[in-house]
Symmetry: C2
Subunit: 108 residues, 2 copies
């Protein structure tokens, strides 16, 4: 699948930006909620180190995942769909060829 | 200062163990409280990463500090005194020579 050569219209760039930001906001809000819940239930040191491990993993994951380069955006969106931070309706406005590629990638 | 050759009587070992555990418990309780407070006030992702950085530093610090080997215990106690996790009364029962060495180390 050739994705590096895919071109994005100005309208598509806008849709993409909004979808990207929406996914990020949803994931961060879920993380904020999770951290507050975990932290409020902490009574033992092991739970602190588990929280630390959890944050290390989430930070690494989030830092790597939210990569807004048009050359990789198809893959990023496929992953965000798989992980339910986006649904197809968030990508409405992208051309059919891109949506088809993204949908195909979510099934891999 | 020769500390490797210091011998510890059974009574001193008991005092040392109790003081060591007490310091650890105090420091961990303070950490638990700090984490709960920080986490309950989290509203932004930057605060989550700051909490993560804070936990990374505390974990590294605590893992290195609580080293119960008699060859290093004099230094460990001096540090715990400096950091106020112990006070001299917690070490009552150690022989005067050890207390003098520990007190001298806290002034370094």
């Amino acid at each position: 699948m050739q994705v590096n050569s895919i071109s994005w219209s100005e309208t598509e760039k806008e849709v993409a930006h909004q979808a990207f930001d929406k996914a990020y906001e949803r994931e961060i809000n879920a993380l904020l909620e999770e951290v507050r819940t975990q932290a409020s239930n902490i009574t033992e040191i092991d739970q602190i180190w588990r929280l630390h491990d959890f944050l290390s993993a989430r930070r690494h994951d989030i830092d790597g995942k939210y990569d807004y380069r048009y050359s990789v955006l198809i893959f990023v969106f496929a992953r965000l769909l798989k992980e339910k931070w986006l649904d197809m309706s968030d990508l409405e406005g992208l051309e059919r060829a891109k949506l088809t590629k993204i949908a195909a990638l979510t099934r891999m």
